[in-house]
């Protein structure tokens, strides 16, 4: 009887502990931290095919799915196509059977002094009607770029070539030669198509961008002239140029105070453009600028990464997202709206739905959809019947929405509304969850969004509730909130996080005795400082790539002159404010630390140097404090590989689990 009772007791303990750790066992890091699978997709003009780029374990592939549900076909497998490090991007249908993609090969230079250069080609792929035949892969050898695929016109696209005179040519894919095929004496490069008779428009000067309206007409050009000034001109119906705006680049202010708004895409009319501010410390904001009315509106902010380009729908020229640079890789971020007023507001939806491509007749749409508990997927929608079909996912292992909850709240700190997000595991058996407070990096500009965040869902799966605070300085909300972060690194930003934590631990589903704080970059700084200053609130702290000495950070060799000035204005002056800066640096406050700390850092971090981790370590040793420490070899400021990310979150989780009960 006693033995059987023991068995029941053991089974009960196992059951309870399973509910404490959530429904996922250890080792599930791979489920949440893996390379995105499908990264972009575009529908053909008549809708018979959908082209997509996917990442496989062998590298990138270009696939074709069919409207009639024939099996998906791989058109191009990069690892088989070239032995060099290469990637493809920007898909565009030139007609129903012809697809183009930008192909980039990284060529290493001579040994001993490596001169690495990217060699770019526009690949033009003719898809055979018979699925058993191989596609014909051609390329444009003339340096330049595709500017309009002319998807509704057979065997033609517009290609721009820049130089002293910049020209747009109409090019026929059928006259191009196969990629890398040697030309004989009788064959001309690119079929001899780059000549006067194929010219569509020409401008004196080096054209950087050509702008087209939704009807495919050339409406504007951004170009440098011989004197070095940059001009934006409207292009009339007869190809005449009417100057709209000019910038004297020799007088450009590089001190970071004035905006340098450069057009990237045309908006609703020929005088209005979506622009990026190249004087921003990191280019994260998109403005809509009317150059006739001289008016500007902030319409979009990237939550985390620097914007490199805007994504426009090839069929309609509408802007549907931004291309951002993440760990040296270009990533597409789609958006449901280019209207900051409707973006990331508390009353807006928790899911994102962005129409990224449409057939010429509007019959079918390709939509990218994402929500807080489900990573993105590409969905084909029949606009007549509203029937839906999933074409592919960014993270196929997560098929169904995760059973977690996301709630929004706000707290008032010193007269300012501070918004926050709480993510709660939805395990029915458990009533109270330990809490991880997870401040974002930046800190001025970046912010936490309501959309899918793999690390948050991972912590939820491990049984932790997660609090993300959009403290002052965060973007994506009001200008007031963002500007309130100036010179508040070690002061009100930390107070915002502290006050939001105090508000959230009052919730019935949060265990107020089990709270730890984890952050990366500025988040790591905040985690360390708050672990020192608030031992009654936080049982432990985890800092990844965190700043430990603000003076060292401000005197870092890595920022440009513009960034250096920005840091001086927004964080502090290392000469005039030295004592204040020292007082908000964890390395000099570590004698007060009462709770265990985990320090992690990449040894090749070029944003927050690894010296920060070593300074903290030496001070922790000096004062004989309780800490753990991990240096990631060959890692920069953020995790460069999914393996590094898996180790980072696993290590953090194990440390938090170990110490969260130790109050």
């Amino acid at each position: 009887m006693k033995r059987s009772f023991n068995k029941v007791f053991v089974a009960w303990v196992i059951l309870i502990s399973a509910s404490v750790t959530g429904v996922y066992a250890d080792g599930e890091e791979k489920l949440f931290f893996s390379k995105a699978y499908m990264t972009s997709a575009v529908i053909s003009p008549k809708g018979t095919s959908i082209a997509s780029i996917v990442n496989t374990e062998h590298g990138q592939e270009l696939n074709i799915s069919y409207e009639d549900k024939r099996p998906t076909r791989t058109l191009l497998n990069l690892s088989e196509f070239t032995p060099d490090n290469a990637y493809i991007g920007r898909l565009a249908w030139l007609d129903e059977q012809t697809l183009s993609t930008q192909f980039v090969e990284i060529k290493k230079g001579v040994e001993g002094l490596v001169d690495t250069q990217a060699v770019k080609f526009l690949l033009v792929i003719q898809i055979p009607k018979n699925a058993e035949d191989d596609p014909v892969i051609k390329s444009v050898r003339t340096k330049g770029q595709l500017v309009n695929p002319l998807g509704d016109e057979n065997d033609a696209f517009l290609y721009a070539k820049s130089g002293l005179y910049s020209k747009v040519y109409k090019v026929k894919p059928s006259l191009l030669t196969p990629h890398k095929k040697r030309l004989n004496k009788l064959s001309k490069k690119d079929g001899g198509q780059f000549r006067k008779k194929n010219e569509v428009v020409s401008i004196k000067g080096y054209a950087v961008r050509w702008f087209f309206n939704s009807g495919g007409e050339i409406k504007g050009v951004l170009s440098f002239n011989a004197e070095g000034s940059l001009s934006l001109s409207n292009v009339g119906k007869d190809g005449e140029f009417n100057p709209l705006k000019s910038w004297d680049t020799s007088r450009w202010d590089n001190n970071g105070t004035d905006k340098k708004l450069i057009p990237i895409a045309i908006a609703e009319d020929e005088n209005t453009f979506y622009c990026l501010d190249y004087n921003e410390q990191e280019v994260r904001s998109v403005y809509k600028v009317n150059f006739v009315k001289d008016s500007e509106t902030l319409v979009y902010e990237s939550s985390e990464y620097e914007i490199v380009n805007l994504i426009t729908s090839e069929n309609s020229s509408e802007v549907v997202g931004v291309k951002v640079m993440k760990n040296g890789e270009l990533i597409n971020h789609y958006t449901s709206t280019f209207d900051l007023g409707k973006q990331d507001r508390p009353d807006s939806s928790k899911s994102l739905s962005s129409k990224i491509s449409e057939t010429a007749d509007g019959r079918l749409s390709l939509v990218f959809s994402e929500s807080f508990n489900h990573p993105g997927q590409f969905i084909l929608i029949d606009n007549k019947t509203q029937s839906k079909r999933i074409i592919g996912s960014t993270f196929p292992p997560i098929k169904n929405p995760l059973k977690t909850k996301q709630l929004e709240g706000q707290v008032q700190v010193d007269g300012l509304i501070i918004p926050y997000l709480i993510n709660i595991p939805n395990t029915a058996r458990k009533k109270k969850f330990p809490l991880i407070v997870y401040p974002h990096g930046g800190p001025i500009g970046p912010f936490d969004t309501k959309y899918y965040d793999a690390s948050v869902q991972y912590f939820n799966a491990k049984g932790f509730a997660v609090l993300r605070v959009n403290f002052r300085g965060s973007g994506g909300h009001s200008i007031e909130l963002k500007h309130a972060g100036t010179n508040q690194w070690g002061n009100l930003m930390l107070k915002d996080i502290r006050e939001a934590t105090r508000a959230v631990i009052k919730r019935a589903d949060i265990d107020s005795d089990k709270v730890c704080i984890f952050g990366i970059s500025y988040g790591g700084y905040a985690a360390t400082m708050l672990t020192i200053t608030d031992p009654s609130l936080f049982q432990c702290g985890v800092s990844m790539a965190g700043v430990s000495d603000v003076n060292l950070f401000l005197n870092s060799p890595y920022p440009s002159k513009v960034q250096d000035q920005w840091l001086k204005d927004n964080v502090g002056d290392t000469v005039a404010d030295y004592d204040l800066i020292k007082s908000i640096s964890p390395a000099y406050q570590i004698d007060k630390l009462e709770r265990p700390l985990l320090i992690m850092h990449g040894d090749e971090d070029r944003v927050v140097d690894v010296e920060h981790a070593y300074r903290l370590k030496l001070m922790l040793d000096k004062y004989r404090k309780n800490y753990e420490w991990k240096i990631f070899e060959n890692q920069g400021h953020s995790s460069d590989t999914v393996e590094q990310m898996q180790v980072l979150y696993k290590t953090a989780t194990q440390f938090i689990r170990k110490h969260i009960h130790s109050k």
């Binding site: 490596v114 005197n555 030295y578 140097d609 010296e611 004062y623």
Partner: protein, 210 residues
Amino acid sequence: MKYWLFILGLGATLPAFSKTPPPLKLYPPDSVIQGVPIKKHEGLVLLELDVDGTASSIEFSRVRVKDQSYLKPNQNLQTAPMTYTLNFMDKPAGFYFFKLPKGLYQVKRIKVPYFNLPFKLDTNNRRTWRFSVDSDQVNFIGRLEIEKERVERSVRVDLINRIATKQSEIEQLIAPILKEFPLRNGVGVRDDFFSDLNKKVEASHETKLQ
């Protein structure tokens, strides 16, 4: 005869007026441990190099300040006309010493070859390219990195403050001379870290730890 003496005398005095003395000699740690003559008011400067043996060099000048290891608020940078040079040709990665009189210095220019095209980076006025030297000490001025990989005609060159990261390695490397020449942080901006680290833990804190 008088004429020749004049020529010889002129030849002997001219170098003293020259504004570019010959490049400073770089010593590996072993030579310094075996003994390098140090003049009065001179300090040993320690630099960690990772320049991949390229024929790069740096030029620097003394800042016109007295007994200061960094510039104070509202103090303008003024440098002496004499330019010192360090050549890194064929120097493998590692620690190197050179000798300099006590003072604050500004690196003004870095020359990096780019195939047959010289690449020059003007670092004048940039505070992160400043370093300080104290006499009779080992002044660690950081790690100089010149990246081997050149992407699209740009090259990354940094002088990185790494006193905490490298402390243990340096102390092991030059242990025999540390008593005579204690290690100090030779950055040219205010940075209290190393001196605060080496301050004794206050008695009240010692008690608390026990």
